[in-house]
């Protein structure tokens, strides 16, 4: 867009001006954008964290800016960058990085890592291997993992006992899940008063859960190394869709239509759902608010144990001057250090991406007291990257719209998969045509 060019030029001019004045002014002002996808309390926690940082780094003044959901954070970051005021650090949904790299909107950290005297592998080595897929693209480090999750099966221990199930032996396969859900669902005549299982299907959550089911079904869901391919119309995905659809329409243990994330957890906490497949990120909230004994378990498998990671990494948009970039990098390193990583994990329920966080005494003690937090970390052994493609949001919505229609009984799983594939291919066509389908001319 022509508009964008003008903005970048202006940003450069601004940056040049700021650079010369920077040292004279003293503290470097940086904005850090963060989404808070779990709880309003976390906005305050982030403010506390940033305040600590500022106190420890008098030459930098970081301002936390709460920017809504992951999707909204992406939009806000782009708007701010276009207006010439890019933030120095953004906590960006991990599956947006591929698209941002293709569109050349974020810059790699390689030179900053080198300046610190380390190599990329060394630097990334401190984070769980499952997280590298969404952070290292084309062998460059574009994101530093900040908060991550995997989907967990939360279940109500009281309901289990009441239904004759053993709370210490959670469902491990899809068969187990259906059997358990059937026993747990309660009806009053025609009306369901308690659902056996609920899974969210709103925008962003729906795609993630579906990819979890697909991976548990043996599928890849997307091409991890090329942003132009997504596997919607394949047996593994169709199988996952069929499973979800059957839960609603055949076994009748899951409510019909789109279920929003908040609605699922509210239902679970109110005792109107016995099981839910939800992000680890809700763990602290459930722990704080559940008035009944609950437990968590791995997401059930059909073919294998495999789950996508979720969560966010810290990135830097293009258009920052040197001073802001360096200040942002200091902030990023501090936020992802073991102490902070662990603290944030305990506050949110996300697991700490920095492996060394788990060796710190506070964390060891916390894990001992809260074995449910340990399950999320254990599942990391089976975690795979979050699906990320060219125009991830649009490609994701292409499937989510079909998923929601299927859950409402308007389409069969096969129809939904085929329609989603067509729509997604259409969205990715411009990228595909200038990369994979661009073959040398015959003359």
């Amino acid at each position: 867009m022509n508009f964008a060019w003008a903005k970048y030029l202006r940003a450069a001019a601004l940056a040049a001006g700021v650079l010369s004045a920077g040292s004279a002014l003293g503290a470097t002002d940086v904005d850090v954008f963060f989404p808070v996808p779990v709880d309003g309390q976390l906005a305050r926690d982030m403010a506390t964290l940033i305040k600590q940082f500022n106190a420890a780094h008098p030459d930098i003044k970081a301002t936390p800016v709460y920017t809504g959901s992951y999707d909204e954070t992406l939009i806000k970051t782009r708007s701010a960058t276009q207006a010439g005021k890019p933030p120095a650090a953004v906590i960006m949904s991990a599956n947006f990085l591929t698209d941002l790299v293709i569109e050349d909107e974020i810059i790699a950290f390689d030179d900053l890592i080198a300046r610190d005297g380390a190599k990329n592998d060394q630097f990334m080595g401190q984070f769980f291997p499952a997280l590298h897929g969404n952070a290292v693209i084309d062998r460059k480090v574009y994101g530093v993992p900040f908060q991550n999750s995997t989907p967990l099966l939360y279940y109500n221990a009281d309901h289990f006992r009441e239904a004759g199930l053993d709370p210490d032996r959670p469902p491990q396969t899809w068969d187990d899940l259906v059997l358990a859900a059937k026993k747990l669902t309660r009806r009053e005549g025609d009306r369901v008063t308690r659902w056996g299982i609920l899974m969210p299907s709103n925008y962003d959550y729906g795609g993630w859960i579906l990819s979890a089911l697909t991976m548990s079904n043996g599928g890849r869901y997307f091409n991890e190394e090329y942003g132009g391919e997504i596997y919607y119309d394949t047996p593994t995905t169709v199988g996952a869709l069929t499973f979800w659809s059957d839960l609603v329409h055949k076994h009748k243990v899951h409510a019909a239509g789109e279920q929003k994330g908040p609605a699922v957890s509210t239902a679970f906490l109110a005792g109107q759902a016995s099981m839910m497949l939800l992000s680890t990120g809700s763990l602290t909230h459930v722990r704080t608010n559940a008035k009944f004994p609950y437990k968590v378990a791995f997401a059930p498998k059909n073919v294998r144990n495999a789950v996508p990671i979720g969560g966010a990494s810290l990135v830097q948009p293009r258009g920052l001057d040197e001073a802001k970039r360096a200040a942002g990098w200091t902030l990023i390193k501090w936020l992802t250090a073991p102490e902070q990583s662990g603290w944030w994990s305990r506050a949110t329920g996300y697991f700490a991406p920095n492996m060394r966080a788990y060796k710190l005494p506070e964390m060891v003690e916390f894990m001992a007291k809260n074995p449910d937090a340990k399950i999320a970390v254990d599942q990391l052994a089976y975690a795979k990257p979050w699906f990320a493609t060219y125009k991830t949001v649009a490609v994701r919505k292409a499937m989510e719209d079909e998923l929601q229609a299927m859950l409402a009984g308007k389409k069969t799983p096969k129809e939904a998969a085929a329609a989603a594939q067509r729509a997604a291919d259409e969205i990715m066509r411009p990228y595909v045509e200038r990369t994979a389908l661009k073959v040398p001319a015959t003359n």
Binding site: A83, P262, S265, A270, G271, L278
Partner: protein, 278 residues
């Protein structure tokens, strides 16, 4: 006799309307009951309209902490006051022009204004955003206010009001040597105060409740108005919602308007009616 007859005949439907009014009030009743309810997340009984609990202010405390309502209030007040201040100037001037002055192209301009009644700035979201950014007003309060400084509705309202001012008064002032702006300030405006107040009420209410435009223009949280703050607040939880806190937060946002209305009912009602009919 006719009126009473009509009323008597409609009496059975008064019960129906009364029931409908009760239904209409339910969302507000829930908001009040839930805001003071002790369980912030609430179990199955969250929806109950019966306040069978000991009221607590905990939800308000948490809502207050989670979002900077003071800042949001200030921003909203600045936006509404700023827009109104400039609007009063532009609509008085333009209203006077259409009411009392003859000039070339008057009809064309009249229709230009008329058409603008329909074209709210939000419809032209994308180009207006670009204009605001080019003026350097992106992420600022003036950027939110600017598109509203001219008001076709206000212009026509003042025009109608000015037309009711007797010409003799203007003539008298002119012979006293009044300049045209003194005419407006000392003759026309004092006599059309009700219209101005009506306009002020409609304008402030409309801009107090504006959401999409400020959402697009403002990025920094300390420049957010109440509507955007409330939206962020409501949508802020992916994991679960603290419905009691949401109710408390919503109450914090709507309270001034509701209190203002309850205090100045007739004014409010008359202003809104004046906004359409004459």
């Amino acid at each position: 006799m006719t009126a009473k007859g009509v009323r008597a005949a409609l009496r059975p439907s008064r019960l129906l309307i009364g029931a409908l009014a009760l239904a209409w009030a339910v969302p507000f009743l829930w908001m009040l009951v839930a805001a003071f309810r002790p369980e912030r997340v609430g179990g199955a009984g969250m929806a109950s309209l019966v306040p069978a609990y000991v009221p607590t202010l905990a939800n308000f405390a948490e809502a207050w902490d989670s979002a900077d309502f003071v800042v949001y209030y200030l921003n909203t007040i600045i936006i509404c006051a700023g827009i109104l201040a400039v609007q009063l100037v532009t609509i008085s001037l333009a209203g006077y022009a259409f009411a009392r002055l003859r000039f070339p192209g008057r009809t064309v301009f009249f229709y230009l204004f008329l058409v603008q009644l329909m074209l709210a700035p939000i419809v032209l979201l994308v180009p207006n955003l670009r204009t605001v950014a080019q003026l350097g007003l992106y992420d600022t309060l003036p950027g939110v206010m600017a598109p509203y400084f001219a008001s076709a509705f206000g212009t026509f309202l003042m025009r109608q009001a000015f037309q009711t001012v007797p010409r003799e008064l203007e003539d008298a002032a002119l012979t006293d040597g009044a300049r045209w702006w003194e005419l407006i300030v000392h003759v026309y405006l004092p006599l059309t105060r009700p219209a101005m107040i009506a306009f002020a009420i409609v304008s402030v209410t409309a801009h107090w409740n504006e959401f999409l435009w400020p959402l697009m223009v403002i990025n920094s949280p300390d420049r957010r108005p109440l509507t955007v703050g409330l939206a962020m607040f409501t949508l802020g939880a992916e994991g679960a919602q603290a419905w009691g806190v949401t109710a408390a937060g919503t109450l914090l946002v709507v309270a001034p308007l509701l209190i203002g209305f309850l205090m100045f009912q007739r004014r409010f009602v008359n202003s809104f009616m004046a906004s359409g009919l004459k």
